[in-house]
Subunit: 160 residues, 2 copies
């Protein structure tokens, strides 16, 4: 579980990286950045910072911020209701990102993008620098994500 | 109808504005920027530059670039097939944008965003500086757009 201080520090760093990428945030957005440690308590190794711009019942858009070498662990977006599962496009804005989709591995530079089909295992990791990735997708339901590591808890829990 | 030279000049300016907004483009994207004069032949007054990142059968994302005071004229995105029409979220990145949705008028600064329901008349115009607007949306079918001005032809036509 993250402490409030750890969460706030990660929010500040993520907001700085978004600013460095030329992305203007409103004040209310800075404090809304989600800091996910996936319940593992090793945020610098396994984690993700997320700013959600919009998430309707049709589409979603987010900025994903990764600290150096930070890994978003393997997961998939399963079908729900009438929805075949989330389809998503990652576009790298800053830094270098290694993306694994199934057995494929690719290294993405700024300006590169990839689309990940629904219900398909994938993970991604920043290179030696901070990375900023814009995610365009169908509707997002993070609470339904299925992670390969059974120890993972996607629900953000902040102490205190 | 735009000349090839006018199209290429507008592409170059749009790419410069995207770069100034911190948005990294690949070389193949720079020449794919759509320059729309809506068939009116007054690009500096009524027009739009569009970079499409992705457009699947579920979602779409674009950058919209407007020169100073350039207007994207009033239109709506009607239903098609099983689709209720395009829903879209505009987020201003650079410059100031005036947006009219139905009878409402709002001035958006960088970091501000608005979501426009399907099949709803809207138009938008840059302020005194160049503007960059990211559009997150459901699937885009520009060929189906319905413009209020019957003289408008949305299909890009480039001479020569």
């Amino acid at each position: 579980m993250l402490s409030r201080a750890e969460q706030q520090e990660a929010q500040r760093y993520a907001a700085l990286q978004l600013a460095a990428a030329g992305i203007e945030l409103r004040d209310d957005e800075r404090s809304s950045i989600e800091v996910a440690d996936f319940g593992l308590g090793r945020l610098n190794e396994v984690g993700l910072q997320v700013l959600v711009y919009v998430n309707t019942d049709r589409y979603c858009a987010k900025e994903l911020v990764l600290s150096p070498h930070q890994l978003c662990p393997e997961h998939r977006h399963p079908p729900f209701d009438e929805n075949p599962g989330k389809e998503e496009t990652f576009r790298v804005r800053r830094g270098v990102v290694r993306l694994w989709v199934g057995d494929d591995e690719v290294v993405l530079q700024p300006g590169d993008q990839r689309t990940i089909p629904p219900d398909t295992l994938h993970r991604f990791q920043a290179g030696p620098d901070w990375a900023v990735v814009t995610e365009f997708s169908s509707t997002s339901r993070d609470d339904l994500d299925v992670f390969t590591d059974p120890q993972i808890d996607r629900t953000p829990r902040i102490a205190g």
